[in-house]
């Protein structure tokens, strides 16, 4: 009983639409001046191959149309260059030489101002436009490297920390202005003053104020921090978009009503990175062009970040060579597209964790044995192998792979008997009813939230836990979750800066009002251990402390970590050097096309 719906479907629709196209061709004939024709040669061949289809369709319409068929063909010949352009783009035909087309869903961009951008697409772009004082190179998140600062020093000044940064001599902004200490001070102060989404990294994590940052001389910046904040964390924050240094002269020139130039930086750039922002058309595209004054010159002169919300359109663009990189393909689409000639895939790691938060304020989740039973009954292998097609790694502790202190233990895999025994010990051997909250839409990495929820629901059902899936918009889910109103909440966590404390603090410290709070899990000892580990300067000791703490939270905390996603990108085979950074961006300046 095998049928082939794609053929039937294509034929039926082709018929209907061919008639429409022919009719439109007729309608449009009069409107296009004939003198367009000679401009194009390249496309004629493709067009002629196409023309018979339309002509045939037109013939089918009967005598009235026949007279016009010649015109239809002429029309096709005229418009054909577009097709030809499309066909030859991969070969570098009409596309400006050295351009990269990156298909992505970019409707999350709020602003391209590095003090405001905190969404996936904005961070990806700003990473290629701005530089910070220090940086991580490639996927190595353990060793800080110089960027705008050629050296730095952390001094224990008794009641506070003192960090001194010495700036490089040769760094210039895209305007040609040299980078000075004043620019650094201005950049940090404006981020604190604007106080937008990412500002808490400076104010809450590093405990900086506008007065903390001073210019000692044109090439030296001094930052003071209180003793209970971690200098190591601040250094990693400087590698992030928020740490991007802006050209204070240029930005001040565009200040309007004390907005710190944020209205202008919304869609302009004033950085030292390899690219400048040429334009950003909302929900449509961002065009990056090489920054002539950058110390690192990109291999490709232009990058077009194109808004393509439909992932099957991304797939089609990639197959045709109209896009060089496609960001949002599902595992199935990747599997399909890589069978096509000229298409490959690139795997990118992430620091994200998919987890289920279990609110201990809700009975019987207050019982650690019940939480352990839930962790025990989930089929982690089924999720990563079947649902994700390998597009994720089984991971169960709270520090993800890639960060310092990561703990790779995965003691759990579905064991129904053991889970039942745990429930029995907890006195709820017949199971119970519970709500499972989950966001609507697709989760990063391509799998639908609903599919994950449905899988967990059927796993829980095996030990009598009847979960009702409550799927709501992410914002609504978060509103409930933040107010401790969740029961089981399936959601995603990503660290704000690449230091283990970005996770551990939030996951253990009730007072931090982050996810330990949301799950009503108030464990004073875990919180104290987490704080101690954050400030520990002896790396071996720090590692041992995190090992013990992750172990403890794995079995006692209110979380069931499902997996750590990886992200697959579809790329053209001739694209070289595209490497995804686990923090959620790529160094586009290292990408080249053969």
């Amino acid at each position: 009983m095998q049928i082939n719906p794609s053929k039937t479907r294509a034929l039926t629709l082709a018929g209907i639409l061919a008639i429409l196209v022919a009719a439109l061709g007729l309608a449009a004939c009069n409107g296009v001046p004939a003198n367009v024709q000679p401009t194009i040669q390249a496309g004629v061949q493709t067009a002629q191959a196409v023309a018979p289809t339309i002509a045939a369709a037109a013939t089918a319409l009967g005598p009235t149309v026949n007279a016009a068929v010649g015109t239809v063909q002429a029309q096709v010949t005229q418009v054909a260059p577009t097709i030809a352009a499309v066909a030859t783009q991969a070969a570098g035909g009409q596309q400006p030489s050295g351009a990269l087309v990156y298909a992505n869903n970019i409707d999350d961009i709020v602003s391209l101002d590095p003090a405001i951008a905190y969404e996936f697409s904005g961070v990806l772009i700003d990473h290629n436009v701005y530089e910070g004082l220090v940086q991580f190179i490639g996927a190595d998140l353990a060793n800080l490297k110089p960027a705008l600062a050629e050296k730095w020093d952390i001094k224990d000044a008794g009641d506070h920390w003192e960090l001194t940064f010495t700036l490089r001599d040769d760094a210039k902004f895209s305007s040609g202005n040299p980078v000075t200490a004043d620019d650094v001070v201005y950049s940090i102060q404006r981020a604190i003053a604007l106080n937008k989404s990412p500002a808490f990294l400076y104010t809450d994590i590093a405990k900086l104020t506008q007065e903390s940052v001073t210019a000692k001389d044109p090439k030296t910046v001094v930052i003071t921090m209180p003793k209970d904040a971690s200098p190591q964390a601040l250094l990693t924050i400087f590698t992030f978009t928020l740490g991007g240094i802006v050209d204070s002269k240029e930005v001040k020139a565009h200040e309007v009503n004390g907005d710190w130039g944020s209205g202008w930086l919304l869609d302009h750039s004033a950085g030292t990175g390899p690219y400048v922002i040429d334009h950003w058309t909302k929900d449509s595209e961002v065009l990056l062009k090489a920054n002539p004054n950058a110390s690192v010159q990109p291999k490709i002169a232009q990058v077009l970040m194109k808004h393509v919300p439909e992932s099957n359109n991304q797939q089609a663009l990639l197959e045709k060579g109209d896009a060089d990189i496609a960001q949002n393909l599902t595992p199935e689409q990747i599997a399909d597209v890589t069978t096509k000639p000229g298409v490959a895939s690139v795997k990118g790691d992430s620091l994200l964790l998919f987890y289920i938060g279990m609110n201990v304020g809700v009975k019987p989740l207050d019982n650690p044995k019940v939480r352990e039973a839930i962790r025990t009954v989930i089929d982690y292998d089924g999720i990563t192998k079947d649902l994700l097609s390998g597009n994720g790694t089984k991971w169960q502790t709270m520090i993800p792979n890639g960060l310092f202190g990561a703990n790779s233990d995965t003691p759990f895999q579905q064991d129904v008997a053991a889970a039942k025994a745990l429930l029995k010990e907890a006195g709820v051997e017949n199971g119970f009813e519970i709500e499972l909250g989950v966001p609507s839409g697709a989760a990063p990495g391509g799998v639908a939230w609903a599919d994950l929820a449905a899988k967990v629901q059927s796993d829980l059902d095996q030990i009598g836990i009847k979960a009702t899936i409550q799927q709501v918009a992410q914002a609504e889910l978060l509103t409930n979750y933040r107010a401790q109103k969740g029961q089981l909440t399936m959601i995603l966590w990503g660290p704000d800066f690449p230091d283990p404390d970005a996770n551990v603090g939030s996951w253990t410290d009730y007072a931090a009002k982050s996810i330990a709070y949301r799950n009503a899990w108030d464990d004073k000892q875990a919180a104290a251990d987490g704080r101690a580990a954050a400030l520990e300067t002896d790396l071996a000791k720090r590692a041992a402390e995190y090992k013990a703490l992750t172990e403890y939270v794995l079995h006692n905390g209110p979380y069931a970590v499902l997996y750590q996603p990886t992200q697959l990108f579809g790329v053209r085979s001739n694209v070289q050097g595209f490497e995804w950074n686990p923090m959620g961006y790529a160094d586009l300046w290292t990408v080249s096309k053969q």
């Binding site: 479907r9 294509a10 629709l13 209907i16 639409l17 429409l20 196209v21 009719a23 439109l24 309608a27 449009a28 296009v32 001046p33 367009v36 401009t39 493709t46 196409v50 289809t53 005229q78 577009t82 097709i83 352009a85 499309v86 783009q89 596309q95 351009a99 409707d107 709020v110 602003s111 106080n195 989404s197 500002a199 808490f200 809450d204 919304l266 909302k282 929900d283 449509s284 595209e285 077009l304 194109k306 808004h307 393509v308 919300p309 439909e310 099957n312 359109n313 089609a316 663009l317 045709k320 109209d322 918009a473 914002a475 609504e476 978060l478 509103t479 933040r482 704000d496 009002k513 982050s514």
Partner: protein, 338 residues
């Protein structure tokens, strides 16, 4: 009633409806159980940032207060600031609306160019093959989920046949024409930019066909039934007996009269095109009001949603007004119904 009075009454009516529309949309936005501040600032926002955000957008005031502020601003042509894009809503609408208008007008044009002849054809060959074909075509058009049609159209015309672009308004790296109306086809015509004109038309065809299919069937059906009413079969017989060509009979006796009822539904059709654009634009990455409205509603950006709603209502009412005026001119018996 004089034409002036008629127009004045209608314009006052439009203002009244707009006030009603704004009140209802505003009321809906206050049914929201979700905090727009969290929607905008996300998972990691501190309480302090949330409070600052609420203050910035006036979300900390009571609902009636917020409406009064909104209405005051509205009178000055200020629709507030979008929560998602952080830009004045008016500025956003000016960017997105021309794209949708261009798409909807193209779809309407297609609907008229195909729907009217198809309807006539169908009526003339009543209960014969052409009639059956047109009726099936119209039935499918009125019943098919257009978003699916769009998906398939992209798959077939771009993927399989490489015939038409997959989406967007222009090829990559092709700069848009000088911004006069925001409609690329019109702007490139006005500035004589033939390359852009051709390219923008090429990008417009598929989304306009998909969007226009529904309206095409509505118009074909309407045209068919009004032709049948105005063109009794014995008319044709007599005319033929008198030696007139069938074509002349159809045009002379049928077409003009049949056009009038068809005209009345064009205004309504235009409204449905704007709504359909929401779905079509998603499928074709067409950066218009539909994409804007979808993204805004997801992020609970109610200033933006209200802006879109008011604009769409305005367009709908103006469409109907224009049709009513045209109606008066086409049919001398009717003088501007109120």
């Amino acid at each position: 009633m004089s034409f002036g009075t008629f127009l004045l009454r209608r314009l006052i009516g439009i203002v009244g409806v707009l006030i009603g529309v704004s009140i209802i949309t505003f009321a809906i936005s206050h049914l929201a159980t979700t905090d727009p501040a969290i929607a905008a600032l996300g998972d990691h926002a501190t309480d302090e940032q949330l409070a600052q955000f609420r203050a910035e957008y006036g979300l900390d005031k009571s609902a009636p207060e917020q409406y009064l502020i909104y209405a005051q601003n509205l009178l000055q042509g200020n629709l507030g600031v979008s929560i998602r894009t952080r830009r004045p809503v008016v500025q956003d609408l000016l960017q997105y609306f021309p794209a949708t208008l261009e798409l909807a007008m193209a779809a309407l044009l297609i609907a008229l160019l195909i729907g009217i002849p198809a309807g006539i054809w169908s009526a003339v060959y009543r209960n014969r093959l052409p009639d059956h074909l047109v009726r099936i075509f119209a039935l499918v058009g009125g019943s098919l989920p257009i978003f699916w049609l769009g998906l398939i159209a992209v798959d077939v015309f771009y993927n399989e046949w490489s015939l038409l672009p997959a989406g967007g308004r222009l090829d990559d790296f092709l700069p848009p024409p000088q911004n006069l109306t925001g409609m690329y086809v019109v702007d490139s015509l006005l500035t004589g930019n033939l390359k852009t004109l051709e390219n923008s038309l090429w990008h417009l065809i598929l989304p306009a066909l998909v969007l226009g299919y529904f309206s095409t069937s509505v118009i074909a059906r309407m045209m068919r039934s009004s032709m049948l009413e105005t063109l009794p079969q014995d008319y044709l017989r007599t005319a033929r007996a008198k030696g007139l060509t069938e074509f002349a009979v159809i045009i002379k006796h049928g077409f003009r009269n049949a056009l009038i009822p068809t005209l009345t539904i064009i205004g309504i059709t235009f409204g449905s095109l704007l709504a359909g654009a929401v779905l079509t634009e998603t499928v074709f990455s067409w950066p218009g009001l539909g994409l804007y409205a979808t993204a805004s509603a997801i992020s609970l950006d109610f200033p933006a949603v209200m802006g879109v709603t008011l604009l769409a209502a305005l367009v709908y009412m103006f469409g109907n007004l224009v049709v009513d005026i045209a109606y008066g001119f086409l049919d001398p018996r009717i003088r501007h119904p109120s």
